[in-house]
């Protein structure tokens, strides 16, 4: 992934930031930065402030205190299992939606925008499925189609909201490779996840639980103490494996093997 000692201009930088709604902070003491071509995992429980952070980076809400400077075009990639599968759109239609972020309200996407969307689909490995109905795609393919939408928006800073949810091993590997390719292309990718093992493979991690717990390189910062502060003590050791597993109570039911599961799926629609 990236060289985190790069001197390129930062895509985003927050200092002592607090953010929230109606004047009430739900996320405080956030200080971090995003370098070009960097992958950053964002760990934290549900309600820990991950969505609020994304909304700040998208410019949808302003920090209540502190500063946040964003020097890149941002786009969010929602969880694909929240998509409407019965909606009458093709893969190409979805990717083309990204062009709206660049166009004034009176302009409709044109031929050039659809061509750009087609290229984005090729980049995420869906070039041959551009005419397929979005609902007919597998979970992993839908996730990649939504990433193509962000690429059509020419986003430099991609915000992926739990993209691994519901993916099988093959789809997870494809997504890992895509994220690595995007970073190699100079884009920065912020990924929310509950999977600590996954977060270890990215350049840096940001742990949130209402306030910032820590920010740094995974090897330096992801220890048991940090994870317990992030997840409120629901940490268990994994027999026979290095490190720790995180088991958010609201996420995994009774399957106590130490990993946050990706559930069933599905690369074959």
């Amino acid at each position: 992934m990236s060289d985190t000692t790069s001197n390129d201009p930062l895509f985003a930088e927050a200092a002592d930031m607090a953010a929230g709604y109606d004047g009430r902070p739900v996320l405080t003491d956030v200080t971090f930065d995003v370098k070009p071509g960097e992958t950053i995992g964002i760990l934290g429980p549900n309600g820990g402030g991950k969505t609020t952070l994304f909304r700040c980076l998208l410019g949808q809400i302003e920090p209540l205190i502190g500063t946040l400077v964003v020097n890149a075009t941002s786009a969010t990639v929602p969880q694909s299992d929240r998509s409407r599968l019965d909606y009458p759109v093709t893969c190409l239609d979805v990717a083309t939606m990204g062009a709206l972020a660049r166009l004034p309200w009176w302009r409709r996407p044109g031929r050039a925008d659809r061509a750009k969307a087609g290229k984005a689909l090729e980049l995420v490995g869906l070039g041959e499925r551009s005419g397929d109905s979005f609902g007919e795609l597998s979970g992993g393919q839908r996730q990649r189609a939504l990433i193509a939408r962000a690429l059509t928006a020419e986003a430099q800073l991609l915000l992926l909201d739990e993209p691994y949810t519901g993916l099988d091993t093959a789809s997870t590997a494809l997504l890992d490779q895509l994220i690595a390719d995007l970073a190699a292309d100079g884009r920065s990718v912020l990924i929310t996840t509950h999977d600590v093992d996954q977060a270890r493979q990215w350049d840096r991690v940001l742990c949130l639980n209402g306030s910032q717990v820590i920010f740094g390189e995974p090897a330096d910062v992801l220890d048991r103490e940090v994870l317990e502060a992030t997840y409120g003590g629901q940490i268990i050791a994994i027999p026979g494996e290095p490190g720790y597993g995180v088991l958010p109570a609201d996420h995994c039911g009774d399957d106590h093997d130490g990993h946050v599961h990706h559930g069933h799926t599905d690369e074959t629609p």
Binding site: P78, R84, D86, Y87, P88, A101, W105, P109, G135
Partner: protein, 277 residues
Amino acid sequence: MIEWLTEPLGYGTTLRALAEITVLGIVSGAIGCWIVLYEISYSAESLAHGLFPGLVAAALIGAPLLLGGAVGVLLAALLIVIATRVAGESADTAIAVVITTLFGAGVLLALSPDSPPGIQELLFGNLLGATVTDILTAAAAGIAVLGVLWLLHDRLLAVGFDRDSGPALGISVGALNLILLALVSLTILVAVQGLGNLLVAAILVGPAAAARQVNHRIVPMIVTAAAIAIASGVAGIYASFYLKTAAGASVVVALLIFYLLAAAYGATQGKLTAARR
């Protein structure tokens, strides 16, 4: 057979009714698709009922129906806000209470013995009474509605697909919803004279719901919905001519038949079952 088809065309009333339903069919088919995709069918029906007293009051005092309908919508919105914010009712209860109250008030006015003849048409419609002015008014409003829908097509599609990502795509979701409701209101206003307040929701929702059963792309869905609306209109008017039934109600029956056929076809083809798995 040809005589059977051409005989109704010899009557000016039938020709004007066919022209009116064609215009209404195209507009209703297009906006109906967004009503169905945005899952606001019940809201559209409530809107039709909520603006009814405004329409009746406008007809009674000789004011433009458009103005009366607009006042009716604003009154309904105001009462719903009062019921939710002041009386503390849930939105669901507030809408039900306000809309039924307003509709009841409109019916009281429309069916009063002192009401001039023709007011009742706002309730039950009079497709065969369409005038050239009605057709031109519907066409003008229809062009405006279709023009705005064309302009906002991609944004409507994006927000309907993924409402939460609207702001990130530079779209004001609230403004878009308001524009859509304004277009629905305008369509209701021009359609209500032909089909009546009680039946107008059928042409807004029925063709689009049928079209959705047999399409998985938006533009073909819109074209199919408009075609079904026009075909139902023509079938209903012919049925009215030969069977001496009420034209508006006959159109609605034809819409129902088209919907059932489309639903049967959709189930057979499994167009949606795969997507809804």
